[in-house]
Amino acid sequence: MMDEVDRIIINELQEGFPVCERPYAAAAEKLGLTEAVLIERLGRLLEDGVLSRFGPLIHAEQLGGGLTLAAMQVPAADLERVIEQVNAFPEVAHNYERDHVLNLWFVLATERPEQVGAVIAAIESCTGYPVYNFPKEEEYFLNLRLAV
């Protein structure tokens, strides 16, 4: 199970990680740990599934990819079939069932922006239900930065 040191690591490294020759040593020093302990702990947190990833959070559109949020209204009786079909698309990154008339919400990530429309059309034709597209128009985010 997680202990206090794990919590400190997670809280601190959610806000950033240094980019330098010995980043684990630099981060560990700030946390009062050794480089070896920090590396070992991160490995275990990944192995235990507490962390899904350790590294960069990449901005898809800046890389030239397409990204959108899409939703569908699917009758309960048909939901399992549609979920299976939607999940089979490699472009579907997350898929959630939610409490709403629009009950299926998923994120589509494509290599190029213009492919989003084709994937949506393919999902519509394969499932038989319309897909509502909610592309991002503006992003509001918290920017944490260490003052030098």
Binding site: F17, L63, G64, N87, N95, Y140, N143
Partner: protein, 174 residues
């Protein structure tokens, strides 16, 4: 610590082929070795200093939003997640988006298009909490702090999550 909320429009940056190869190498995670950038540099036939300089530049340009840990919320006891959507007057959407984004429990906040009468909402936030009541408390906190008591909104709790992976930008992933 400097804390500021920024608003970012998506714009194009000067990413070259080396940047793409570098991002492909690190998108699944940094190597857990004392000099991870030297390790990546070795795989790419680049110098460690160049890898570091490129990553710093990509961070500065916003291609990399941040470096660090990505937590699996459920494994930390955050069992409830809700998409909270608001029907905000267009003239207030930027101010309210910035207000919402200041709260640490708001993990994502986007303006998205309305879709007619069946979907009048234009501001979307993700809120994580230990349970549904905790999420609802946070929605009240946001409502009061940002002065949106009169704004129509809905809380869409997740029932099930079927697929969760980081977006992968290479072709042919499973």
């Amino acid at each position: 610590m400097e804390l500021n909320v920024r608003q970012r429009r998506v714009d194009s940056t000067g990413i070259d082929a080396h940047d793409r190869r570098l991002l492909e190498q690190i998108q699944e995670g940094l190597p857990l070795v004392p000099r991870p950038f030297a390790d990546i540099a070795g795989r790419l036939g680049m110098a460690e200093a160049e890898v570091i300089a490129r990553i710093e530049r990509l961070c500065g340009e916003g291609v990399i939003k941040r470096m660090g840990v990505v937590v699996r919320h459920r494994s930390l006891g955050y069992d409830a997640n809700a998409m909270v959507v608001w029907d905000v007057p267009d003239t207030r959407v930027d101010a309210l988006g910035q207000c919402f984004a200041r709260f640490p429990f708001v993990t994502l906040c986007y303006q998205r298009p309305r879709r007619g009468a069946r979907w009048p909402y234009n501001l979307f936030c993700m809120i994580h909490g230990k349970d549904r009541d905790a999420v609802l408390d946070k929605v009240v906190e946001l409502t009061e702090a940002c002065g949106v008591g009169e704004v129509r909104h809905q809380v869409l709790f997740s029932r099930r999550c079927f697929k969760q992976r980081g977006a992968n930008y290479r072709r042919g992933c499973p």
